[in-house]
Symmetry: none
Subunit: 205 residues, 4 copies
């Protein structure tokens, strides 16, 4: 029964691959890209360092796998949150709120996505940047849509979207590095208000 066997093996491999990614997240988040050693990651994953190379081409590609997974998760959560909202501006707010919530719940992810991802190594940074862009593009599209609908005044959508995303990044960075704000939760509403004001949304209050 070669078919079943292959399935089992495949399952085992998936398990191992996941273990490696989980370990990699921990180590990369804690030590940063350069200081993280392959041996450490393998060790944490309960796997020999050679084994790691059966699942990933090299350290870089492991890092990218980690980042991809994180971005997928992050964007998934954001997209999900947006689905519950009809109004474009509410979509924007929901995005911000979802991002802050997921980072608050998963500090490691924040560390990786916000701090380590963008600063790994010349070539990796470029690839990560591509993923980072997705969020900016989402925001940009919302802004353009809202402008079209007359919900927002005309503006430089690129700059606005970058500013929007940047404000989020900085708050998280400060939270991670300085512990200020102490809780991401307290940042949610002020940050949403800040950006909606910035975009020119007429807030009800």
């Amino acid at each position: 029964m070669p078919y079943q066997r292959s399935e089992k093996v495949e399952q085992k491999m998936e398990v191992k691959e996941k273990a490696i990614i989980i370990a990699a997240k921990e180590i990369f988040a804690r030590d940063g890209y350069s200081a993280a050693s392959v041996k450490n990651i393998a060790c944490r994953a309960g796997v020999a360092s050679g084994t790691l190379y059966l699942y990933f081409d090299n350290k870089d590609s492991l890092f990218m796998a980690v980042m991809s997974e994180l971005y997928e998760e992050l964007l998934g959560a954001i997209k999900l949150a947006r689905k519950s909202e009809k109004d474009t501006l509410h979509k924007l707010s929901a995005s911000l709120r979802a991002a802050l919530n997921i980072f608050a719940a998963n500090r490691e992810m924040a560390e990786l996505v916000v701090l380590q991802g963008p600063n790994s190594n010349a070539s990796l940074s470029k690839q990560v940047a591509t993923m980072e862009d997705l969020l900016a593009k989402l925001v940009s599209q919302d802004i353009e849509a809202a402008v079209d609908k007359g919900l927002l005044p005309k503006q430089h959508a690129l700059i606005s979207s970058l500013a929007f995303v940047g404000s989020l990044n900085q708050v998280i960075t400060s939270w991670l590095r300085e512990g200020k704000p102490e809780n991401l939760a307290e940042a949610v509403e002020p940050l949403i208000k800040y950006n909606l004001n910035a975009l020119g949304a007429k807030t009800s209050d």
Copy 2:
């Protein structure tokens, strides 16, 4: 003749120290802290690697020297720009404008200050963060002052200042990495407007 230090030699040394810092900026900007090698830097500076250690204690201290110089330059430009303005809100705008201008004129500095500085190495990052903080504090103080004067509505000053600085960072990051916006100049006014709106300033138009 027991060695004439004062004149030529001292000058030559200053020149050499500067050459090393210039080279370090190039290499650190291009490769990042970890991937940059001391040998490379020395080589680029036209100096033997041992020579570098006559001017700097070690790689870390060279990096800090580079960063310090850059922050001094950056904050100097910002403070200068602020001096010409009386009004608190104008001070804020002037700060943003000055920062964008200096980065536009000095892409390498942007690369180092915005991208490499924050992600070098655990202990260096902390020191750099201290310098980064200065800008955020400046903004925070302005906001609080403006709120006190009734120029701005009450708000969460920490979050507002982080968002302010973050929006700037992100625009520069995107410019460096994606080439969008193509020119920082075009970002200046939209970004100022974005943040003034965000802060709740009543814009005249």
Copy 3:
């Protein structure tokens, strides 16, 4: 008056050369040959490292100069002490006593002659060994003379002289490294007695 001038200069140089040797003794004694750095020695001598090379070909030759001087001093003291004695066996005792006395009075010398000298570097060790030999030869000659005169029984003069010198060395080594005996003075008589017994001298008591 070129003659006088040359004399002055020569004097100055002798002063400087001596300063370097004095400094070298300190540093070599403290750090050992390899760990002692030329720069440190020059610095301690109040001289630039380049200057050192006007007086000595290189680190090795400086070390040899130090050792030569020490051996000269040591052997001088020993020969002087021997002169006051007529009897061959008394010459031997006097040698031992003189050696212990000079080391007790000059711990640095002991450190260099006994510990550092023999273990500097492959080629230096050989040269130092040649100087070490002088003491052994002196002892050997005494033994042979005493045997000829019937003061000592026939024996393997080489072995006896080596043992004699070795016993001295070991006591000093232990004194330097372990602080046992606390005082070299207390070692003098036991050590003399040990070796006279060893040589077969009929001690009066």
Copy 4:
């Protein structure tokens, strides 16, 4: 097949570890601690320099491993020789004889134990000195025991034991460096006689 360690691999590793130690003995004996380079040792062992660090933490610990092994071997031989003797004084003679024999058979060991060991590096020397002391203590205990039994006259046991060990050291040193005596074998009986006389043993002849 998750890697078969137990048999061949483990054996190979032991072989390799031994090869490294053997190479280290050669190089340390030839060049001394400081001048010996890790690369050279690895090379002589037929191993990459990185491999060496799989077996030893660093150069220091490799050196200590070498010295420990040698001291173990040396003291083992001495203790074995002593076991065959009942009389305290015979134990002493047997110790000396055993030491000379093992050095005669293993010149490299002599080089390391007598010449290099004591002069490696500040912190290592101390550790080595601890091992060196064992021999001196053995001798010291014998002397004290013999004195108690009335086999030897009262004496300064510390000085006597140091002299005893020193005489041995010096003979070996001279043999190694000067080639005198040509053969250690010829030194055995004279040296034993020298020291027994020294201690005040009533020799039968």
